[in-house]
Amino acid sequence: MSGTRSTKGGTLRLRLYVAGESPNSVAAIRHLRAVLAGYPSLHAELEIIDVLKSPEAGMRARVLVTPTMVKVAPSPERRITGNLKDTNALVAVLGLTEAPRE
């Protein structure tokens, strides 16, 4: 059961910018939730923002394409674009050092 470790600096704050229920947006939500579920001890806050409903929020965050996930905290801010099916890339952006064991 070892091999999991949360990032340093406490809560992981994430914003996932999606476009309604478009396929890649839905997939991104699913992939992100699956990864987070693999780290039960991780304290993460996930905010999902639909740019179709609040385009201004997307503009403010300079999100040019959806889906885009922004790691707001802990710094540095990192972002990743796409449907997040590349779990290794996602884990790297999140700052999680190791993938959970199956």
Binding site: V18, P23, V51, L64, T66, P67
Partner: protein, 547 residues
């Protein structure tokens, strides 16, 4: 150094992110691209789509609405209208759009005040009347809302003409019901009084020698009493408290049977036509009452055509459907036979039509009409489960349409009129039960003077005791139907097992008794309706005793 390294690190991260973004774009993992110079403003497109969608939604609501909708600009011009509005206003698109709809409302609606109100409160709700190009009017309920789109007010108008009409019909029905109750009560009280007047007048006349100078005066009293009795009968008919003896009828044949009488009634200048159909349905109605309906409506038609004209009395099968029933208070959908009486006379204005069925309402000169003719027609039709409607236009003429529900079954044979009794006298024993003392006394005296042996009882209980103590045969039980405690019917039920040969004759001014169901008399029951003249009483007593 560390700063520079930090910046390089940040740039590397940004580059990596940019590469990742491009890879994500390349591999189709991205849904939408937004903002930024040179990037297709998909979000703008999305926003435009949403706007277009909401416009389409508005359009489909606007076009598909059953209520009329008008978009009016600040100058009062109609900028757009839906199909329901074209229907409501009776105008094409060209005749409505770009026009001021305020010009199409009746004059009693203050368009300027309404617009000011909308400008102030943002919204106005009310009623107004739309006048169509052909002059017909529609009553509407409307809501006007300001700034539904910049500079445009939206008015939604609902046609409530039919609802208003139904409400008016309902109020009319209630009013007629109330007047009916009043008239029925008056007639009931009047009956007994008339009975006494007529009985004693008749007795005094028979006591007087033909040359007696008082005789003419008493005869005048009797005639006045007869006229009053006639009015009472008509009032009872109106208040639906008359006792009907319905039979299965062919209305067309019934009307044809009246042709000679009708021709006598009408002037030569009136052309009479009586179309009917061979396959006419049957109705259940009292033939005497049908005759009353036809005569009254024919007389009215005649009086509406002093210079001559055409009177058509048509009988035809009709089907009243749910749509018709929805527009006519009290109508049950189904198959009916319609009796339509159409004249080419003066017609009636709306005020007259509203009151024409009220008793004592007349447009004829004082002394020319009683104002009871149509009231009686109305009562008879309603009591026969029928409906009556009138269509009239000033100068064009009037049509009364009377609907009777259709029934199955063969036309009943017309019972032959009972033979005129040879004599009005008799020797038989009559048990008379009547709770009204003056009436009892008058009836007893009449019968005794014509040779009958009369046992009189003031209640059902008394009648049972008298019967028990009377050792000989009682030939006839003559009883009022409606009495406190024991009804005439109960008296008969108690006495008949003991005296099976005894004949029974009921008297009543009233239909509210178990003997009669909704005023319809069971066949085979001998019955006299108050007010009764002495001759009618003596004749009926003989008829029942000899029958």
């Amino acid at each position: 150094m560390s700063d520079a390294r930090g910046e390089v690190g940040t740039l590397q991260i940004l580059l990596a992110e940019a590469e990742q973004t491009i890879e994500a774009l390349r591999s189709g993992q991205v849904d939408a691209v937004a903002g930024g110079a040179g990037v297709t403003p998909i979000l703008l497109q999305v926003a435009q789509d949403r706007l277009r969608h909401s416009e389409e939604l508005f359009r489909s609501v606007f076009d598909g609405a059953l209520d009329a909708m008008l978009l009016v600009d600040s100058t009062g011009r109609c900028r757009d209208a839906n199909a329901a509005a074209f229907d409501l206003f009776g105008r094409s698109r060209d005749q409505l759009v770009d026009e001021d709809p305020g010009a199409f409302y009746s004059a009693d609606f203050d368009v300027a005040a309404a617009r000011a109100q909308v400008a102030k409160d943002g919204r106005l709700r009310g009623e107004l009347t739309v006048v169509r190009p052909d002059g017909t009017q529609r009553q509407v309920d409307f809501v006007t809302t300001r700034n539904i789109q910049p500079g445009l007010t939206l008015s939604v108008l609902r046609d409530i003409t039919e609802r208003k009409r139904l409400e008016a019909q309902f109020h009319q029905a209630q009013k007629m019901e109330a007047i009916g109750v009043l008239a029925g009560g008056v007639a009931h009280d009047f009956n007994n009084t008339l009975c006494v007047i007529l009985s004693f007048a008749s007795m005094v006349i028979s006591d007087l020698k033909p040359e007696d100078p008082v005789r003419a005066d008493i005869e005048e009293i009797a005639r006045a009493g007869e006229r009053a009795a006639d009015l009472t009968r008509q009032l009872l008919a109106f208040s639906r408290k008359q006792i009907l003896q319905p039979r299965v009828l062919d209305l067309g044949q019934a009307v044809l049977g009246m042709e000679r009488m009708l021709r006598r009634l009408l002037s030569e200048a009136i052309e009479l036509s009586l179309p009917t159909s061979r396959s006419l349905g049957r109705v259940l109605a009292d033939p005497g009452q049908v005759e009353q309906i036809v005569i009254n409506l024919a007389v009215n038609a005649r009086d509406a055509m002093p210079g001559g004209g055409k009177l058509t009395i048509e009988t035809v099968n009709v089907e009243l459907d749910a749509d018709y029933a929805a527009l006519h208070h009290g109508v049950v959908p189904g198959r009916y036979v319609m009796l339509a009486i159409t004249d080419t006379g003066a017609g009636m204005d709306a005020a007259t039509q509203e009151r024409m069925f009220e008793p004592f309402f007349t447009t004829k000169e004082v002394g020319k009409g009683t104002g009871l003719g149509l009231a009686m027609v109305f009562g008879i039709v309603k009591q026969s489960q029928g409906h009556i409607w009138v269509y009239s236009e000033l100068g064009q003429g009037t049509t009364f349409k009377v609907y009777f529900p259709r029934v199955e079954g063969a036309v009943s044979a017309t019972p032959s009129a009972p033979p005129e009794p040879q004599t009005l006298r008799g020797h038989e024993t009559v048990l008379l039960v009547e709770d009204e003392e003056r009436v009892r006394m008058a009836t007893r005296t009449i019968l005794q003077r014509h040779g009958y042996n009369v046992l009189d009882a003031q209640s059902g209980g008394d009648a049972l005791i008298i019967s028990e103590q009377f050792p000989a045969k009682v030939h006839l039980l003559l009883t009022d139907l409606v009495m406190p405690r024991m009804s005439g019917r109960q008296v008969a039920e108690r006495l008949l097992p003991l005296r099976p040969d005894m004949k029974v004759l009921y008297v009543s001014g009233y239909t509210e008794d178990s003997l009669v169901h909704h005023g319809v008399l069971n066949a085979g029951i001998a019955f006299l309706q108050k007010p009764i003249t002495p001759t009618a009483l003596l004749r009926k007593v003989r008829e029942v005793l000899d029958g």
